[in-house]
């Protein structure tokens, strides 16, 4: 959590620089913190005793699983982790002809590149150098995007808490690891189905088991590469899809797929103002030109109209002058005639 208390600007700049570093990933690769821990769940050894569930509840001070642990009824339904059960064991294959039922333990997988951490708007999640992904309830707003984003459905929320609801998930027993202890579930497992250790070594152990017992295992370590890899690794004797683990998913980290679009954002911010103001200028200019053309047309029309009017005026004046002349002539003629008549009588 050392870099988690950055201010907004610092955070944004840091992220920008971080993005730059990620872009340079074409030449550089960060393979993860060396020596980080992981856990290997060998489902071929798991007998569904649920000791891990009880141990997990004890370590995390949560209510113990209800009912006796050997109650086979629980396996009737497929369960998932909840806010009070951070790990659950499911029976996936009832009774295959050639062997015992198959169980798998569910919990947070502690991804190498955790999607929950990438999508959190307050950066409440952090991948520690030791391997566990940690969650800080002190900054969490409860948007639950992390729960939405988790491809393993491993996160749960305290919906019944009014003031202090938290996201609940396996912490990989981070405090115990820090104290040099083994995570609760691994310590409690009576079958040795859960092995704790450095992730690189666990992968070697898993490879060795597959090599030694090729008939016992599917030749695949689930979690080695899926979505960029996880701290929890799973070995199985039956196809992984039967254990509700999607086979053949991409090796690309989910955050890289999911947030690539954010690269467009700076482009929008930088291109739009110029583009939009350019369009505004175009439309304004178009209007100005239209206005000018209109004015010119109106002016021409007015001028034309003025000329016409003047012509009309001139003809009218001419006609008026002629009329006047004629009237004067007529009046003169009339006066002369009257005069002659008067003189004659």
């Amino acid at each position: 959590m050392s870099v988690s208390r950055r201010g907004f600007i610092g955070g944004a700049i840091g992220a920008a620089l971080g993005a730059g570093a990620a872009d340079a990933g074409t030449v550089k690769q960060f393979p993860g913190h060396p020596g980080r821990y992981g856990l290997l769940h060998d489902t071929t050894l798991c007998v569904g005793c649920r000791s891990c569930e009880a141990a997990c509840a004890r370590v995390n001070e949560l209510p113990l699983p209800p009912g006796p642990l050997d109650d086979a009824e629980v396996f009737a339904a497929r369960r998932r982790t909840t806010d009070t059960a951070l790990t659950v064991v499911n029976r996936y294959v009832e009774a295959p002809v050639d062997g015992p039922p198959v169980y798998r333990k569910l919990q947070c997988m502690h991804c190498n590149e955790p999607c929950c951490a990438t999508v959190c708007p307050v950066h409440a999640f952090e991948k520690t150098p030791e391997g566990p992904v940690l969650y800080d309830p002190e900054v969490c707003m409860g948007c639950r995007y992390c729960i939405m984003a988790c491809p393993y459905n491993a996160l749960a929320y305290e919906y019944d808490k009014v003031l202090t609801p938290r996201v609940m998930r396996c912490t990989m027993c981070y405090p115990r690891i820090k104290d040099g202890l083994v995570p609760g579930c691994a310590e409690a497992c009576p079958m040795g189905a859960i092995t704790f250790g450095e992730r690189e070594q666990l992968i070697a152990v898993a490879r060795e088991r597959i090599r030694k017992f090729p008939d016992r295992y599917v030749d695949h370590i689930y979690g080695e590469h899926e979505f960029g890899g996880t701290s929890w690794l799973v070995l199985s004797g039956t196809p992984f899809e039967e254990l509700d683990l999607l086979p053949g998913v991409t090796h690309e980290p989910l955050p890289a797929i999911g947030t690539s679009y954010l690269g467009v954002v700076p482009l929008v911010i930088t291109i739009y103002p110029g583009l939009l103001l350019g369009m505004y200028a175009f439309s304004k200019r178009q209007q100005a030109v239209a206005k000018e053309e209109q004015e010119r047309a109106v002016g021409a029309a007015l001028a034309q109209a003025g000329e016409d009017a003047q012509k009309k005026l001139a003809t009218a004046a001419e006609r008026a002058a002629k009329d006047k002349e004629r009237a004067v002539e007529a009046a003169v003629k009339k006066a002369l005639a009257e005069h002659q008549q008067g003189g004659g009588s």
Partner: protein
């Protein structure tokens, strides 16, 4: 909050009796919503919602946030058309569209506050600790800024009403800048709301999941915004008939222009969706049950209203344009519901699927009612539906 809304509803009736049927119904809805919200904040989300660990987002995100933001897109669409692209004949609808947009985004924030586990920490991304790698961080930042932009863009009506000329003039001079900012912020958060689902390729059904989903969200939001301007006009033009200054002919011309724009937007949206099917080669999925449901959305709520808009524009049929607008708006909601919870976790057994509780639905209806009451209250007082005589023809 809801008490104030009831008060506003009562005041909205003015000098007439408070006990009008409108006020009684809205009062009942708002009071019920207030009671449920009271329950939510004293008993928790578990007591009021059907949210589960598998479905952390339900109706309040699927409708209030995802649909609300898209349906409130009319503000940026019309203001850009009028102020940036010079389509001045649409000026009479800018103010109602901006007000609808502002109230829509206000509703988004209300919905978010109801949904967040610790809503009082809403500003934490900005004041406590930033998570800038998150699409939601970008959405939060954009929505916060755009709500502010919409608020400022809506203030001229209030300033004219109050007679505060200096402030009115100042805000008027900001118009172009605010419009550009609004378009930038809208492009970003409308698309990023879709981008939020890019991290869920294993959970969201392949027909809805797409690497182009940000584009789907943005284009559909433009269509939704245009449709909502028509729908809003359908109600407000009648309700505020005495205020409207433009001729019926002008109003209809605006609607036909919007219908044409709606046809184009839906055609683009349809094309983008079909291209998405082609790029990701999902044709075979159309033959499944989910494919049938996808086709209902794509053909019934995108292609059909698009064609209706085109015919309405060609034949000058206002009723048809309005029907198309309603179908478009419903189609966007359907799309956001499909993405948020119908086609999300599609492979889970039916018993684990999410359906909203009646209390979630009631709260959502109460928020919409609140927005309608607020619109009515503001539009019956301020120059929203008409131009203030002193400020005619100005930004």
């Amino acid at each position: 909050m809801s008490d104030a809304a009831v008060g506003a509803a009562a005041q909205g009736a003015g000098a007439r009796s408070i006990l009008t049927p409108f006020n009684l119904v809205t009062g009942l809805i708002l009071a019920g919503g207030a009671v449920i919200l009271g329950l939510r904040f004293t008993q928790g989300l578990a007591a009021t919602t059907n949210l589960t660990h598998t479905y952390p987002w339900g109706l309040w995100i699927g409708f209030d946030v995802m649909s609300g933001v898209a349906l409130a897109a009319g503000g940026f669409v019309t203001s850009s058309a009028v102020y940036l692209f010079g389509m001045k004949e649409y000026k009479p609808i800018v103010r109602p569209a901006l007000l609808t947009g502002f109230l829509g985004y206000f509703l988004v924030v209300l919905g978010l506050l109801a949904d967040l586990g610790r809503p009082w920490r809403l500003p934490y991304p900005f004041i406590k600790q930033a998570g800038p790698t998150s699409p939601l961080f970008e959405v939060a930042l954009c929505v916060a800024l755009y709500l502010t932009v919409l608020f400022i863009e809506s203030t001229p009506a209030a300033f004219e009403w109050l007679g505060w000329k200096k402030l009115r003039k100042l805000v008027g001079s900001l118009t172009i800048g605010l419009t550009v900012l609004g378009l930038i912020l809208s492009t970003m958060h409308q698309s990023t709301l879709g981008a939020m689902y890019m991290v869920t390729p294993t959970k969201l059904h392949a027909l809805w999941y797409s690497s182009h989903i940000p584009v789907h969200f943005f284009v559909s939001a433009v269509a939704a915004g245009i449709a909502m301007v028509i729908v809003e006009g359908m109600f407000s033009h009648r309700a505020f008939h005495h205020q409207v200054q433009i001729s019926t002919e002008h109003f209809e011309r605006i609607n036909f222009g919007l219908a044409k724009a709606g046809a184009v937007a839906l055609a683009v949206y349809f094309a983008v969706k079909v291209v998405g099917l082609a790029i990701e080669d999902e044709w075979a999925l159309l033959a499944t049950g989910w494919g049938a449901w996808f086709l209902v959305e794509l053909l019934g709520f995108v292609l059909l209203p698009g064609l209706m808009f085109a015919v309405a524009y060609r034949e000058r049929r206002l009723g048809l344009a309005r029907a198309a607008a309603v179908i478009t708006a419903l189609g966007i909601m359907l799309n956001r519901f499909n993405i948020t919870f119908v086609a999300f976790n599609w492979n889970l057994p039916p018993a684990e699927r999410y359906l909203p509780s009646w209390m979630e639905i009631w709260v959502t209806v109460a928020f919409i009612t609140f927005a309608v009451v607020a619109f009515r209250w503001i539009a019956s007082r301020m120059p929203i539906m008409y131009e203030h005589p002193e400020w005619r023809g100005q930004h």
